[in-house]
């Protein structure tokens, strides 16, 4: 279970978008502005390498900043969960 933490250099890979752990206040703001309950957000596993690097725990909200040729920068929010969504 407690495998070695992934190295920080994965954050610098060009295919890995910018991840940020939101504070509780920020997270609440996100929920309010979207009008969603926490479980209605897309999910991300605690075992995700980036989540482990950020030291995020289940219940935390991760903000992902993606860049795309058509959309410019776009934000995505994901809630950290202890399990992976069923296939």
């Amino acid at each position: 279970m407690s495998a070695k933490k992934p190295g920080r250099k994965i954050l610098e890979h060009r295919l890995v978008p910018e991840h940020r752990k939101l504070s509780v206040e920020e997270a609440v703001k996100v929920f309010k502005s979207l009008g969603v309950k926490p479980w209605q957000l897309p999910q991300i596993s605690v075992n995700d390498p980036i989540v482990r690097l950020l030291n995020a725990k289940p219940g935390d909200v991760i903000e992902i900043k993606r860049r795309s040729p058509t959309g410019g920068t776009s934000l995505a929010y994901r809630i950290v969960v202890a399990f992976e969504r069923r296939a």
Binding site: L34, G35, V36, W39, Q40, L41, P42, R66, S68, T70, G71, G72, S74, L75, A76, Y77, V81, A82, F83, R85, R86
Partner: protein, 889 residues
Amino acid sequence: MSERFREAYLIERIKFGLLSPQEIRKMAKVNVIRSDIYEADGSPVMGGLRDPHFGAIEPGERCPVCGNTREECPGHFGRIELARPVLLPHLGDKIHAILQATCRKCGKLRLTSERIEYLKRIYVRLKDKWPTLAETMIKSIVKEASDVKECPHCGERQFEIKYTRPIIFFERRAEGEVRLFPTEIRDRLERVPNDHVLLLGIDPERARPEWMVLTVLPVPPLSVRPSITLETGLRAEDDLTHALAEIVRQNDKLKSLLSASAPEGMIEDTWLTLQHVVSSYIDNELPNTYQLSHRRRRPLKTLAQRLKGKEGRFRGNLSGKRVNFSARTVISPDPYISVNEVGVPIDVAMTLTVQMTVTEYNIEEARKYVANGPYKWPGAVLLHKAKTDRKIDLRYQKNYKQLAKELEPGDIIERHLMTGDIVLFNRQPTLHRMSIMGHIVRVMPGKTFRINLLVCPPYNADFDGDEMNLHVLRLEEAQSEARELLLVEKNILTPRYGGPIIGGRQDYISGAYILTIKTRLYTEQEVSRLLARAGVAVELPEPAILKPRPLWTGKQLVSLFLPEDLDFAGKSKVNTGALKCDSENCLNDSYIVVRRGKLLSGVLDKNAIGAEQPGNLLHIVALEYGEAKARELLDTLFRMFIRSLEIKGLTISYHSIEIGEAAKKEIERLTQEAKKEIEELIKKYEEGSLEPIPGRTLEESLELMIIERLQRLRSSAGEVAIKYLDPFSDIFIMAKTGARGSDVNITQMASMLGQQIVRGKRLTRGFRTRTLAHFAEGDKSPESRGFIKGNFRDGLRPTEMFFHAVAGREGLIDTAVKTSQSGYMQRRLINALQDLFVTYDGTVRDFWGNVIQLKYGEDGVDPSRTYHGKAVDIDRIIERVRVQRVKKR
């Protein structure tokens, strides 16, 4: 007013559980003890599977249980008291989990009391908020408990339980494997305390574990398994009844063995048979079980089979619905109706009806319909009098005139489908939303649906016998919604990629080319003919040539239809090879320039007016001047293209692919050259001096080199043919404008078919060492491996014809496999995505409000309103500004 449904009781949720033996006995009105169904006199056997207490099903019959007739009687359950308990086959995995997680002696979960209390606290809290997580937790609890080898409560040693699907359990004891009989299993399940059951993911209120072992089997009422009377008077029972009869028989047998205290082995055998029969009654496709069947043939359709699969209750009856007010017939083309229209045969129009509420404004119109009656179009089929609330079927009336006179506001009539109504039109496979579009009805004589040729691309329709479906929209809300959103003109732009999906094909394209080429000028008479076909009356522009007689160019005529301030620039399809040019100053007339709505240069072809060509003239018009304007072009300008073809005539013949002796000699020379080179390659290969391509074996290298050489030969032979052919012949017009065919097709007809490829290689299969008996064994020469020197004009040799057929077959197989695979993929995708929608705040959500995407497509752009995916076409804006600056100066 029509009736409305009242939501009397709303289902909030459904909870599934198991029936307890007590419940089964309580609801059972019949104890089935006899396996025969009818007495000798034909009356149903009391205590048999057609006992009248199962509920009234015959007309006029009164139910002996509830006293209702068959309309009212809900049907009643019966029961079969099993001589020995049997397992429910579909719960095998759950039973297995319980047996492994609990103690074999005291029945408690194999975890310490403290641990159980702790887990329970977490589980109760988890269950409501994170049901998925709770499920995962159950799995881990079962795993944790089954790893314990000694019961923490009573200290009993535990053994591993082996389970063979669907119903056999063994226990691996020290002395060996011992079979666990359902009685033993039931005893163990009974011992599991309620709060421990909870931690195994089962609600003990609704489903005690021991109920997974049947002691009494519920028998469904007759309405669930109706018997049918054949014309011969023989009765045929439902498959379920047959299965149940078999259960009763086996049960009887077991009972008599038990009462006769037969040897244990015999009892066990019969018991197992009973178990199998009950399992098959529930699911007749279980592994390792006998299949119940009809007199040694067709397997019975039992409970699971009724629900499963494409024709099962879910996919066949609940998701799949049949529909009224629809029609289906063959389609045929009609270029003279609008793309928005559909030609409907008059017979269809007199069968399909639309509701029409009579008001004081339309009463005269309505009177006309009623007076015409149901057999004269446009008429009415049904009359609903508001005052008396009576429905009058006009088919059984004679006094249409009288009824028409008596018509008053508030009445509702069902009138025939009429020209101007909107309907939905559909062609299967319905792969994208443009497969169902709204069309305006145009009632016509004949027996087929007529559609404009320009709507063929979105439906992927042709007229080799295709049939299409038509659905009448009956509510005014639906009708106006269809007019605003579903009409063909609203679907010119596809959301799949930013571009027009509707547009010209084949003759429209060659027609546009013929019309707009520089060399063709039109006399006043011709111009009138062209414009008359387009159906417009406009003042003619100044002719391009005044003397000796006025002549107009095709470009002038096209310009009459374009929006006044349209600016457009782009390459034609013919802008390749000798006609290539990269700027607007194009002497080859292959660069389209439209300024202020005037087509100044360039010919119109596939790149300008073709279907599925993003960024073409039609696309720009639809985007910037609205879809109505684009539709107007389709209905006028495009008709003129066809007319121009009719004036010129476009045809190909045997002679248009005649290349002459000189060309044939040149091709022969090239062929000999290539053959010699290949012979050399083969010789080198045999000597071993061939240099292999890196990463390939020697043999592969040789093959690749030969293929490459032959491909080169084919293209050079093609070039020769094209050089000798008339570049202005109709066949070239078609290929170059993109109307139909390509240079390759012309090459194949005129000069050489080239190498045939199967699985990316030359043909090698057939006999052991050669492809056909016409060649020497091990022959590697081009002609023995599928190279075809011949062409379609001069014909193929027998061996060549065979090779061509082999490669052609591969193509057919590929398409057949591809369609079935992509069809299934499509189905899965749609099932996964069907309830996603874009909300008003721009997020994409599913039905439960879960956020799927924060912004649709991450940029919130509707692809159908884009320039081929780009929300803004900067180049186009720059170009426009530049052009306008020039104009001002």
